[in-house]
């Protein structure tokens, strides 16, 4: 891939309005983005059907109905969790990172062959996951958190190993490319998008060590029969070492779009570049010492450790409050420039009819709601009332299903046309998709939260549960209605994307502008990566060493037998 501005004539530069996309880049980014959305098309399709089968009224009306593709409920749920939350997000993040880094630095990647190798690993991983889910529906139904002593077939774990391997390659490629650029441009600040991507990939490298150790040393050997005992509490600790940073790994690329693309799309300019950098660094540093807030109800973690992680959890909400201000101010300026008057007038003058802008604005609205329920989850005592109830999926469909997925969709609405070289098939269809998604997720979040408060468990085929009261049934039926709205939205999304890829009759028009310059007023201190990664490592060690010590001292030498989801011990 060659990006030098001086010799465009001899290079295969695609003639695009403000942004060129080179052939190599187009293939690499295109392969990632299209694969990611293919994974989402299967995973997201399961969602509405889960909502239907969880609703007693639906099961009563259609006792013989089955879920398409993955007919068994927990098979569908495992597919939904792994394909949406792991494969779609990770593969998208790699493709989008490559695009933003190449674009903002106007420089080729450190290693294109390595990038393709990473893509290959992720693609094979995805195919392995699909294969095992289809061929061994019951044995592979261990959900996307794969807590032992439930053990899936080896293919399940190998698929995940390949996925994470691909992400490590992306991380190395992004970080090394940024370093090379810094050597070539002494004294300059990294463009904001690259700064954020570097922080995000560092965080991923450190945090994924937890899940890698869990899968490679505990689960895969247990699945292969090399060891016949596990330790579930230790596994949960290792998983959540990774699990909370994971949510920021999803969120930061959405923030990259909102901080570095949305301001220009909205007709303005980012309010404060330096404070955006501070926010990204805080997300990176504070993402790790917080994971125990997912283990508030665990018997093997002491209250002191729970309290320490709660403290850091409060701190890690600060960058999101900073984002609320920075983006709010950015949008206000853009809205006023477009004629908005008075206290709230600027909200009405946003580009609500531009699909990409609308997607990101609706995503931000969902995040206000999801963020507030998140603070409730994080309050150690309130958590006990909602832990493992439907409240939790209610919350995270407004976060990962809201700001994350919808922003990624908003990106796809300009990036996929660029990859294809033709305009989006239908702007109207895209707008209808964005607003039905927003409405559906709002309603889904609300009904699931109410169901959770009424006691409805999560991860459960509640449509046939014998213990539900009237309130529980009412809210579950409500969630199924939001499932109908979301099914419409999913259908609109994929119809539009497929028709765009098939080639829309219209030529490519609008492509957003990308910031290629870092703000020179941003302090150089913020670019001292050795320092920040060092702080990340120290905080991680301090916050997690006692948790691991506790979990390891509690294993008594791995006594727990392995089980299959069908209820029998593993031979």
């Amino acid at each position: 891939m060659q990006l030098s501005k001086e010799t465009p004539a001899v290079l295969p530069v695609l003639e695009l309005p403000r942004l060129a996309m080179l052939r190599d880049e187009r293939f690499l980014v295109g392969a990632h983005i299209i694969t990611a959305f293919a994974a989402l098309s299967i995973g997201a399709l399961m969602g509405p059907f889960q909502a239907f089968h969880r609703a007693p009224a639906f099961v009563e009306a259609f006792p013989d109905a089955t879920i398409p593709v993955f007919s068994y409920y927990y098979q569908a749920l495992t597919a939904h969790g792994t394909l949406n939350a792991l494969f779609f997000t990770f593969i998208f993040i790699s493709g989008f990172s490559y695009f933003m880094v190449g674009r903002s630095l106007r420089r080729k990647l450190w290693s294109l062959p390595l990038a393709w190798a990473g893509f290959g690993a992720m693609l094979v991983g995805l195919l392995m996951m699909l294969f095992v889910l289809v061929t061994e529906p019951q044995r592979s139904s261990v959900l996307y958190t794969f807590y032992p002593p439930l053990i899936a077939p080896p293919t399940f774990y190998l698929g995940l190993v390949l996925l994470v391997l691909g992400c490590w390659i992306t991380a190395a490629n992004v970080i090394v490319t940024a370093n090379l650029w810094r050597k070539e441009h002494p004294g300059e600040r990294l463009p904001l998008a690259v700064f954020a991507a570097v922080a995000n990939h560092w965080m991923f490298i450190v945090s994924s060590i937890g899940v890698a150790v869990e899968v490679v040393f505990l689960l895969l050997p247990a699945s292969l029969g090399i060891i016949d005992r596990t330790d579930p509490q230790l596994s949960r600790v290792l998983f959540w070492f990774f699990g909370h940073p994971l949510v920021y790994y999803w969120l930061v690329p959405a923030y990259i779009s909102i901080y570095t693309v949305l301001p220009q799309q909205a007709g303005g300019k980012l309010f404060s570049d330096p404070l955006a950098r501070v926010a990204f660094l805080m997300l990176m540093i504070l993402a790790l010492p917080t994971g125990v807030h997912h283990l508030f109800a665990d018997p093997g973690v002491s209250e002191v450790n729970k309290a320490i992680h709660t403290f850091f959890t409060l701190l890690v909400s600060i960058p999101s409050f900073m984002t609320a201000f920075n983006i709010g101010a950015t949008l206000e300026r853009a809205g006023r420039a477009r004629g908005g008057k008075g206290l709230f007038g600027w909200m009405f003058t946003q580009k609500w009819t531009d699909p990409s802008v609308a997607a990101q604005l609706v995503a931000l609205i969902l995040f206000i709601s999801g963020g507030i329920s998140g603070i409730i989850n994080a309050s150690a005592q309130l958590n006990i009332t909602v832990h493992n109830t439907s409240w939790v999926p209610g919350h995270f469909h407004q976060t990962v299903g809201g700001i994350v997925a919808l922003t990624y969709i908003g990106i796809a609405y300009w990036l996929i046309p660029m990859i294809r070289g033709r305009a989006l098939f239908s702007k109207k269809m895209a707008l209808a998709q964005v607003y039905t998604w927003g409405l559906g997720m709002m309603l889904f979040g609300h009904t699931m939260a109410e169901a959770g408060l009424a006691g409805v468990p999560r991860r459960s085929l509640t449509g046939i549960s014998p213990f539900l009261d009237e309130a529980s049934k009412y809210w579950l039926n409500g969630a199924a209605i939001s499932g109908v709205i979301l099914l419409i939205s999913v259908t609109l999304l994929f119809t539009n994307l497929v028709l765009t890829l098939a080639g829309s009759p219209k030529p490519l028009a609008d492509v957003p502008e990308i910031q290629t310059k870092g703000d020179p007023r941003s302090p150089m201190l913020l670019e001292r990566w050795g320092l920040w990664v060092g702080i990340l490592a120290v905080l991680t060690l301090v916050a997690w060493a006692p948790v691991f010590a506790e979990a390891i001292s509690a294993t008594q030498g791995f006594q727990i037998l392995r089980f299959l989801p069908t209820g029998v011990p593993m031979p």
């Binding site: 018997p299 409060l314 006990i384 727990i560």
Partner: protein, 164 residues
């Protein structure tokens, strides 16, 4: 680094709000004695002999205080024969106003232990004893629900506490 006047005010407000949250949580722990589950004991689920789990059930400590030992397995809870026959979701009978400490462990995989309308919500993990205490002030029947995925029968794993 330049920070806008309004942003400074906003961040101060955020700082105060988070400080208030932290104080409320600390008060919950220290002043109101709200406890989270924490390590009680480890147990080998393959050999329960000699532990209370060999014979799950209700123990009265006197003075309106009770201990309930329960096990969870795919896909039922067991609270001993006082709470009903084997294979039927147990109904744990408790006099109104009692303070009950539940000790729950698993025979096989991870389960959940949640009681409707009461602040008790535990991850039940094989090898670990999960403990929580609640006071039942209101008469009625409250479902105990397994709220952690535990395999194909997860959706029918429940029991109840009958407060008389």
């Amino acid at each position: 680094m330049h920070i806008d006047r309004y942003e400074r005010a906003w961040l101060t407000a955020v700082g105060i709000a988070l400080g208030a949250f932290a104080a409320a949580m600390a008060a919950g722990f220290i002043l109101f004695g709200i406890r989270l589950p924490s390590p009680v004991a480890r147990i080998n689920p393959n050999t329960f002999a000699g532990t209370p789990y060999a014979n799950p059930g209700i123990k009265s400590l006197g003075g309106g205080r009770y201990e309930v030992f329960m096990t969870a397995k795919m896909w039922s809870f067991d609270a001993g024969r006082d709470s009903g026959p084997v294979g039927v979701p147990p109904r744990v009978k408790i006099p109104r106003g009692s303070e009950v400490t539940f000790y729950v462990t698993s025979l096989d995989v991870d389960h959940g232990f949640y009681i409707e309308g009461h602040a008790i919500n535990l991850e039940v993990i094989p090898g670990q004893v999960a403990r929580a205490t609640v006071t039942f002030m209101q008469a009625g029947e409250f479902n105990i629900i397994c709220n952690q995925y535990c395999g194909v029968g997860h959706q029918v794993m429940y029991g109840s506490v009958v407060v008389q």
